[in-house]
């Protein structure tokens, strides 16, 4: 019967909450108890390096474009060898929502999230991390990839020196 169902539906939750009232809470008492997040946890963002130790980031601004809260800003610049790099790179962790979209957008595997979640600070400016705060000495989750070995731009190797390229053509030659 409908009325019976309604009354039951109204009273049942009271019973449930009353039961919960006497159960042990599931809350983890954070500063006293800590948990170890899984390796793929999305917390503090870092900039990783190539296997050869050079910076991975090419300042393509895809992470800042993907960022839904606009917490990443940077300026690209050109090194002497034509390499594009970030002249400055800034993540405002007081804005960051740790969604991880930046890492998905990154074409060079440079920007990665880490399980280090304890970055709270009373001084907001200390949450604004510059490139030197973000750079780590390691490859992070991807230990092989080096963008410039595949990009076709002669930075790591000479032009045409990557494994899937012929050497530079001579447009003035008519030989096949």
């Amino acid at each position: 019967m409908n009325l019976w169902r309604d009354i039951k539906g109204t009273l049942q939750p009271f019973w449930v909450t009353l039961g919960y009232l006497f159960k042990k809470p599931v809350t983890i008492q954070y500063p006293e108890e800590k948990r170890t997040p899984p390796p793929r946890y999305r917390a503090r963002i870092v900039l990783t390096c190539n296997p050869d130790g050079s910076e991975r980031c090419v300042a393509c601004q895809l992470c800042s474009a993907a960022c839904p809260v606009n917490c990443i800003s940077m300026q690209a610049a050109e090194a002497a060898d034509g390499r594009r790099y970030a002249a400055w790179f800034r993540i405002n962790f007081s804005r960051c929502i740790f969604c991880g979209l930046c890492t998905e957008a990154c074409p060079t595997m440079a920007i990665q999230t880490t399980p280090d979640y304890e970055i709270c600070n009373r001084d907001v400016l200390k949450l604004v991390h510059e490139k030197e705060d973000l750079l780590i000495d390691g490859c992070g989750k991807d230990t092989e990839y080096n963008f410039y070995e595949h990009s076709g731009i002669g930075v790591v190797n000479e032009r045409g020196g990557n494994e899937d390229e012929y050497g530079p053509v001579d447009p003035k030659s008519l030989l096949p």
């Binding site: 449930v16 909450t17 009353l18 809470p25 599931v26």
Partner: protein
């Protein structure tokens, strides 16, 4: 003249006592609500300030007092400023007629344990509860914000609608006490409480008083996931605090009213009457907190339908039935 002076002093003492107890109760009800809700949701609730979070209300008060008191641009400033006070005041004043213990004889003087035993006490409470709506409505209107206005409109319609059912639910109580005086109503329940005599009235009363006090599940005027914070969206600091305290004083008042009207007031075995009274009030307060932990918010139109199409006819029917029964029993 001496007599007048003594009665004045007595009134002031009682006022001070009530004010102190009620405000403390209100403050700790906030904590209690947060802790109980927390446990119902398998959390701890506030537990950081003082032992078991007992100093939390103090911190809240300090925080509210030190926050910026903000008046929105183009708000109707004066109405905006006095509206929260109106809410808190109306709730506090209701206590003037609540008897919390049988009269005590002190120094040969019989002192009624009520500030003012009005013979229209029930109507007085009605009057004040219908005035409490002004705080909500004017505050919401003066904020010059669409959410506040929507909250105020909702609050207004809700309060007006459920006041009818509330009044009708109390008619059997008045009929059996044959008086509007709360003292008389309590006295009339010396043998058994009205809860047993008028169970339907009790249910209607509880539902409509929940709506009247804007508590969950009938917190439409401040439904935070629809209209930010409703009528007090634009309030900050202690003015918000006044709305907040008003709500919890109201909770105490409701507890007291329910106790007086249905739970037999201070009557009870073994324990002193005041203790019985306070225990009953706290139990009712717990019921409200429990309801908040258990019930979802209905839609606004559902609320209106329920009030006008179910509750009021039911209350009318209850009046007729109670009248008939009491006629039959008496004759």
């Amino acid at each position: 003249m001496n007599d007048l002076l003594i009665s004045l002093v007595l009134i002031l003492v009682k006022l001070g006592l009530i004010l102190g107890v009620v405000l403390t109760m209100a403050a700790y009800l906030v904590l209690a609500e947060r802790k109980i809700l927390g446990r119902m949701q398998l959390r701890y609730g506030p537990n950081r300030i003082g032992p078991g979070g007992m100093m939390q209300p103090l911190c809240d008060v300090i925080k509210l007092l030190t926050k910026e008191d903000f008046v929105p641009d183009r708000a109707d400033k004066w109405i905006f400023l006095f509206a929260p006070g109106l809410t808190a005041l109306a709730a506090l004043l209701s206590f003037a007629v609540v008897p919390f213990s049988p009269p005590v004889t002190l120094f040969g003087r019989e002192i009624p344990m009520v500030v003012c035993d009005l013979n229209i006490g029930l109507l007085y409470i009605f009057g004040l509860s219908s005035l409490a709506v002004y705080g909500v409505v004017l505050g919401g209107w003066a904020s010059n914000s669409k959410y506040s206005l929507l909250g105020a409109l909702r609050g207004l319609a809700q309060l007006v609608s459920y006041e009818l059912a509330l009044g009708l639910a109390l008619v059997p109580v008045v009929m059996s006490a044959k008086s509007f005086s709360l003292n008389a109503i309590v006295m009339a329940q010396a043998d058994w409480p009205n809860l047993l005599r008028h169970p339907l009235a009790f249910i209607i009363f509880m539902i409509s008083i929940t709506a009247e006090s804007k508590r969950t599940p009938f917190d439409m005027p401040e439904a935070e996931n629809e209209i930010v914070a409703g009528y007090h969206t634009e309030y900050s600091g202690m003015r918000f605090g006044l709305f907040f305290v008003g709500e919890y004083i109201n909770l105490v008042v409701i507890g007291a009213m329910t106790t007086v009207f249905f739970l037999g007031g201070w009557h009870g075995p073994f324990l002193p009457p005041v203790v019985w009274f306070i225990l009953k009030v706290l139990f009712v307060a717990f019921l409200f907190i429990w309801a908040r932990g258990s019930m979802p918010r209905p839609r606004y139109d559902q609320l209106m339908h329920f009030g006008w199409k179910v509750l009021i006819p039911l209350a009318l029917l209850n009046v007729v039935l109670s009248g008939a029964i009491s006629l039959a029993v008496n004759s």
